[in-house]
Symmetry: C2
Subunit: 383 residues, 2 copies
């Protein structure tokens, strides 16, 4: 989704690991997954008191490879390599940091493209629709597996921020600090509308085959490409797009046809093609549904005040001025019920030109806010 | 695109007419159309001095049926029936009002779905890519045909507003008043990006057949449906969507699947299906390209000041506070070069909740602004 910066101060070579879970997971939908695997990476060292663990939750297209690079693929830097590493805001000299690929993903954890051991075929359309609550349940099992009873912090941006918030509600005693960055307490009708267009692009692609395209040896590339193109429009600000592309022509002149004409078209189509070549369409559908469903105030008529009464964590809420997907107003909707419940909350509204993608960017003020807060978290756990 | 209101004060029964043009039209692209037809409607009476004619230019999905209804289809009210009619702001008791379907359209004027007399097949992919300038040239020929040497006003919203602006540049002596409503002096990168996603949905639909789907007896319904769904998101404001749909569930409960779940999904899919059933995909492509290309400042390095030096008309520029497709800021970009050139310009920024669609809505303040300005236009031509 965003730029990865130089490997200076990088954590260096990392490798992914797998954890197998044989206790059935009951989803919020009622569906049951008898067993599953999660792929994850860890950076830094768990201290003797096991008090310095940080969980990083990923957004729509993210995964477990948060920082560092692989021995056999030195250019494959983690997606938050500018934030996580020795001496970086999420300092791996102080914290034991965990990144995982969420259940339902397409980067190694059990998901629609994984083989269902009961059938010998990919799960495809039979993979359960998943919610943020389900993810947090599966993440808590990963914490159990790693011997971590309480996280120093759970940190996420966008959909990852929703998971961090859910941690404070599902497991109030298992997280001391929650970072909700560029997030929202639920999607608006407009947010859902964009997701629905993206989903319909995939669902109506003739190569989708009701979600069981694996058996047909095809991929709904057209739909996934459109979904990603549309997504990118919502990740960038209008101003950032204007500054970066404006009305620049791709080849310097108008063609009066439907090939790439403006630079912005070249960018979008490239992003769409790149994404469609590796991302699983069923995972994309699941991720957008998890976004749509997230609504902690669903059972309280939209009122978050009674919901956060059970939270115990301290919170850092961060928004970005040009983010129109989850605007600062949406972050303030998170802050209000936290204040109402007299929870410790810090709120930072960062002036940034990069829209929703800002949470992945190298903004010095944003990084300072993160660093300052995390220094306090480190001191609390004696690091 | 918007609501049509009751037929009270309606102009009553109207009928469409056709005009044939046998002089070749040379497009800005260099392409030539040897002959073409335009379908149009007129309301009211042209006065003896032929000084009370008003041209209405339509937006992306509009057409010639601006007001009234048809004898054999009483429910088919014109798309601006709330604005045009006896005693209405564009008062047909005072003005001779003309609506046309633009060249390239799919409502009766020559377009991609028309039969090319030279081949006996639909034009399809061979229909030239059209620009706002080309439309204005063809509209001027329609004016010639009707014996109108100068319009009292050329009026349009959105893409229609761009045509109205172009009239003041292409034919400075043939228009006294230009109404640019919910318009912009050019598309931004974000505007083009949305158009490109819509176009790619159509272009990559397997039923598109390179634009020659007519011969295959299919229609790229999937692509057109996605394009329209996406369009609707940009026509409505975030707030209007929130007020109208919020997170309401279509059937009162979550389904954990990909059928319609939220009310906003039901609305979007319905709009998409309805549109895809009648609108021509090639026309949709042409309309979005005309939007992308419109840029009067293209040859002056983005500076509109020298461009409007040749304009002579007076202007009414109208914007709507919640329009995020063409925001008030974009209208002010139109006002500035008009002021620079000491042209008469009135600017109204209407507080409205309906987003870009506001220009079609029954907002009393907006209608009053239009009425007041048009009363002056009527007095000038002795009506």
């Amino acid at each position: 989704m965003g730029d990865n910066l130089s490997a200076t101060g990088s954590i260096g070579i990392v490798s992914a690991r797998r954890a197998q879970f044989d206790t059935p997971l009951v989803f919020r939908s009622g569906a049951v997954l008898p067993r599953y695997e999660l792929v994850y990476e860890t950076y830094g060292t768990l201290n003797a008191g096991k008090s310095n663990a940080i969980l990083i939750c990923h957004a729509l297209s993210g995964h477990h490879h948060v920082a560092g690079y692989y021995a056999d693929d030195l250019k494959n830097l983690g997606w938050w390599n500018n934030m996580v590493g020795p001496g970086k805001p999420i300092d791996t000299d102080k914290f034991f940091v965990i990144g995982l690929n969420n259940l339902g993903g397409c980067h190694g954890s059990t998901g629609p493209s994984s083989i269902n051991p009961e059938t010998g075929q990919p799960y495809g359309s039979s993979f359960p629709v998943i919610t943020v609550e389900d993810w947090v349940t599966s993440q808590a099992r990963l914490a159990d597996f790693l011997g971590i009873s309480q996280f120093a912090a759970v940190i996420g941006g966008s959909l990852g921020g929703m998971q961090a918030l859910q941690w404070s509600l599902s497991y109030p005693d298992r997280v001391r600090h929650v970072f909700a960055i560029a997030a929202a307490p639920h999607l608006t009708a407009q947010n859902i509308a964009f997701n629905d267009v993206a989903r319909n692009a995939i669902l109506t692609d003739p190569d989708f085959h009701g979600g069981d395209y694996y058996q047909h040896n095809v991929v709904p590339t057209r739909g996934l490409r459109l979904a990603r193109m549309l997504g990118h429009i919502t990740y960038l600000s209008d101003n950032a797009m204007a500054d970066k592309f404006g009305r620049d022509l791709h080849a310097g002149q108008l063609n009066y046809g439907y090939e790439i004409e403006f630079a912005i078209e070249s960018y979008l189509r490239y992003q769409g093609d790149k994404f469609a070549a590796y991302f699983d369409a069923n995972t994309y559908l699941l991720m957008t549904k998890a976004l749509d469903y997230f609504n902690p105030a669903h059972d309280s008529g939209g009122d978050l005040n009674p919901v956060f009464a059970r939270a115990k964590a301290s919170f850092l809420v961060v928004s970005f001025t040009t983010d129109w997907r989850f605007s600062p107003q949406r972050s303030r909707e998170i802050v209000r019920p936290l204040l109402h419940n007299r929870l410790n909350v810090n709120y930072a509204e960062i002036t940034s030109t990069h829209g929703h993608d800002s949470f992945l960017m190298q903004d010095p003020y944003y990084l300072d806010v993160m660093r300052t807060y995390l220094d306090r978290v480190a001191r609390e756990c004696g690091q």
